[in-house]
Subunit: 214 residues, 4 copies
């Protein structure tokens, strides 16, 4: 633990200070004094290629962001265990009173690939990740069983199915359901194609993913 | 759920496409083809004012990012429950073979404030968040009991103590400890001051936070 | 006692005469003729790295400066003993009618370190200094007992607590309290970071130290 | 206590940061890392017109400075009371191992004037200052009784007598006497004329004050 702080991070921080921070110092100071008031929570993947702030060109104070492997939302189930994802959702809804929750998946997701591999009998190494992916093992099994789809098509299909499942699970949280029904909160899906840079947004009625009008 | 996708996100995405993506499309294409190979995992808070990619001016492929409330790492404890944080750590270490893990906290953290409020007898609303913060209730209680510190000083002290605790908990993961001892992985702490934009990095020996030479 | 006057002081004095004095001789002459009328008293530490005139770039006549080990103000307690600090405060208030008193502490203070060492069972050598530091032994003991803080964090915390204590003790002097309540005198805290050169000023309401807008 | 920090101090600090600190930041950083190692202690008056760092053009780390009213050193007398001056002397000798102690007085000293006024039956207001000046009441009485001297000559005479008395009292401290006799410490006197800017240094043999060769 006596290692030097990674130099590329110090270099990047220097760019931040001379760049974004230099031009937005008043905004940071205001956000510090008045507290954060983001209107939107994003539930995204840890993947290094799909940072929400980058894809949505978001500035400080705009997005409250929960990131876990494969952007999964477990079903509502308070018990004696720690629930990092549910805690963040609760905090965003009850304390920050966000108006939007966006579940954002992406192409080439390692977690999704792991779930398909598990369904095919080749579970990735790791006890935690194995247990974590059981949340989507049922849908992964169904997709993997469909041999009409290429493996690449299976991957994209499961990525989108998982976004729909996460949104469905969000509705099992009483405090989410209540606010959605009262019109105070809306739930959205998005899928990012790392290769082409394309963003696809989900139609809330049909669950289809389409490229939005720009 | 038939709401329009938040227009400010579409607007931001449009900026991304004409800006960063336009100049880095080759990099995105390469990252899609070859897969992500980040050298560094960042464990950060969901706070909208402290996105790691922004603070470290990081591009696509650089940072594998787990974000939860108050950047907490639970102690190693595989069981029947879902472990989002532990899963991401396991994925980063075993599958991505990252060389650095940075636990980044920040000033004015709502989760830390909640832990101090709980210690003072005013627990914030919410069952999940309440349970989640029990991970730091012992240290929060000790800090809150020190009435010589102002409430703001208690907050900063606990933010830094929690970073040290998260790093300590990382070392309870056998696959982390083994790699750290083999020199293949190093653990770092960082604390970001939202108001001033200052980054403080942790000295691995003493645990102190200091401003790095820029 | 027949030693030569330290040559570096003669050299420095020569610089003073050809520099500051040469350009400000009228000011010195006026200050000699009319007497001093400083608006501000500074209570600071003897430390060679934290001279108030240097840090505040103050010219002749501006600051009435009391310096002792660790910038301590004892509680009001007139008795048969000599009270150097209380005498200076009394002189500044009653005779000079200063409008501000600034208690200025600093990082890496040897007196504060001595108080923490004493609390840890390693009192520094010296009967006078030992007795002097009993003024802060209670707060030093509380800070030292908090093992969640690194020793460097304990040091900074105690430095700031001691500034607050000194200001609190100032208010036990009837002639201070009366003038503060009448709006004729204000009390301030400041903390100087030797390493970075940063000045932090105390918020009179909360007691927090913050970097002032420059 | 909710007053604004005195603006002229913030302004002065800004000058310090853009001036001295900007050109000496390495020195400050080094002094912070390695600790202070001043070779010289100065015992001076609180007077706003006679700051040692200014008169000796001293930089950070050079002078360990005790300032009280009229630069008095009480005779050695450890007891149950707080001794700010003796503590600073002890700290300088035992912990910092300084090689020189300079007692610096100055013209138009308010404390010296107060002692002469007391001897003439017009004691200045203030219980602490009254007690403090009893340290020099005997010599003040003798000077005041000499009606052959003008009041201005009495003032200068007492200022210099008090410097000699302070140096004499220093020699009553066993740890001072021992080091002086061992050649490890030397004691010096100096007197600063505020009006003309002249520095007079004391001859250790005769006690006379003379202007040094520049």
């Amino acid at each position: 633990m006596t290692q030097q702080f990674p130099p590329f991070l110090i270099e990047g921080y220097r760019n931040f200070m001379s760049g974004r921070y230099a031009t937005e110092s008043q905004r940071y100071r205001k956000l510090a004094d008045e507290g954060q008031k983001p209107t939107t929570m994003v539930i995204a993947c840890c993947d290094s290629r799909a940072a929400p702030e980058t894809i949505f060109d978001a500035g400080p104070g705009q997005l409250f962001v929960l990131r876990n492997v494969a952007n999964l939302v477990p079903p509502f189930g308070p018990d004696a265990a720690y629930h990092g994802t549910s805690s963040a959702i609760e905090f965003a809804i009850i304390h920050l009173k966000v108006e939007n929750i966006v579940v954002m998946g992406h192409g080439r997701c390692g977690g999704i690939a792991g779930a398909l591999a598990t369904a095919a009998g080749h579970a990735p190494e790791g006890a935690f990740i194995g247990k974590w992916l059981t949340m989507i093992e049922e849908v992964a099994g169904k997709v993997e069983a469909n041999s009409l789809l290429t493996s690449s098509e299976q991957q994209t299909a499961l990525e989108r199915i998982v976004i729909r499942q996460s949104i469905g699970n969000l509705m099992t949280f009483p405090f989410v359901k209540e606010r959605v029904e009262a019109g105070a909160l809306s739930l959205h899906g998005a899928w990012f194609d790392i290769s082409s840079g394309e963003l696809w947004t989900m139609n809330g009625e049909s669950g289809d993913f389409m490229r939005p009008e720009l």
